[in-house]
């Protein structure tokens, strides 16, 4: 059977993914994470009287901690599987990927296990984040003069 004919046959029995539903869920959950971030900033600034430029980092640390904690407890993967991009794109996704990788290798040593594998999934984000920051910085410098 030729490749194209088999491809057609496979597509015939391929169930449809709920793309629209997934997008809406990701949008709402991702937005909700943003809202929680803002609420945390306000909480740190107005309730705990932390200077406004410091409450940003505190908010990030809080979200990262919550994602790591929930991953370690074993609940976060179920949430991520449902919310998909909504929880993967924000900082929660980065923290989740590092914690889950570290958990997998916890019995294989601090260096050869956790150390060698913790950035398994996050390495991509770091590499291409830094590379794109470089290029966007360059573009900004050339167009806007810095």
């Amino acid at each position: 059977m030729e490749k194209t004919r088999y491809e057609k046959l496979v597509l015939k029995y391929m169930p449809k993914e709920d793309s629209v539903k997934n997008c809406i869920v990701a949008f709402l959950v991702g937005g909700l994470v943003g809202v929680i971030g803002e609420l945390l900033i306000n909480f740190y600034s107005f309730v705990l009287d932390i200077p406004k430029d410091e409450s940003g980092p505190y908010m990030i640390v809080t979200l990262v901690f919550l994602a790591c904690f929930a991953t370690a407890l074993g609940y976060f993967d179920t949430l991520v599987a449902k919310a998909k991009a909504g929880l993967i794109i924000p900082i929660t996704g980065f923290a989740h990927s590092m914690t889950s990788a570290a958990l997998d290798y916890r019995k294989e040593g601090l260096v050869t296990g956790i150390g060698s594998n913790i950035f398994k999934l996050a390495g991509n984000v770091i590499l291409y984040g830094v590379v794109s920051a470089y290029f966007f910085g360059l573009i900004r410098f050339i167009i806007f003069g810095g």
Partner: protein
Amino acid sequence: MTSKYNNVYLKTVSTVAGPLEKEGPLGELFDRTNFDYYFGKDTFEQAEMSMLSNSINILLQKASFTEKDIDLFISGDLMNQVTTSSYTAAKYDIPFLGIYNACASMVEGLIIGSSMIQNKFAKNCICSSTSHNLSAEKQYRNPIEYGAPRAKTTTYTVTGSGSALLSGEASKIKVESSTIGKVKDYGITNVFNMGAVMAPGAADVIARHLNDTKRKPEYYDLILTGDLGKYGKEILRELIKEQYAVKLGDNYNDSATMIYDLENQPVFAGGSGPACLPLVAYSYVIPKMLSGELKKVLLVATGALMSPTMINQKLSIPTVAHAISLEVVK
């Protein structure tokens, strides 16, 4: 390559399974199940080894044998370096052959064992295949606690170990014939649709087996594939009809859709892995053969010979399937 046997018998079988399989439709039929994925060990890889030794020990117990009575131990699993089988074999004083054909390992083992017994090189042979969902996920895909979204065609690696004791001594079920599969590659690169990857291998080996033995599909009371899954099953039906003019009737089923309750368990298109076919065949089909309800069964183990490295290099996934025919002795 189809071979017929006249002095190979399936003396007894054993099955060990994990928590999700325990909650499935065949949960009560396994010899041993565990409430969690650790089986009392520290890591999932070691839990997998523990499942395999349990499977062997239960098998020896059922046959009233000790390891001294066994001439050969053939075992396959999904771990790199066939670790589960090798490290477990170290605990036994039995000559060992480690094999790998992914989810087709079960029948590959039975074929090698049957050939050894047919030629009187061995009198009693244990053939096992094992897999563990979490050790497989860690090795082939993402970290276990990572909630990566999955496609609806994804299958769920079964946690379990199935062992069979093949013997030259007559018993109720005999190994009648087998057909060794050819590796097929129909250009599928989607790792989330293993059913589509494996259907061509199954189609080829079933068609060749029927052709070589001059039989029609109706000859068998049951033709059982290993792990094509909910969608792969249908692809096989249409593919084998269109390409080989073989019509599979109601006597065809697939283990992936039998080991789990697809409606109520989070397993998408069904089970997969080297343990899928043995858990279903040994716990459900063999008892039906012993009671006379099924007399002639063709087991077709389907394996996706997937390599994560080759996927990254943009190659498509090859597959192989092996078939073995079991019959109740009259």
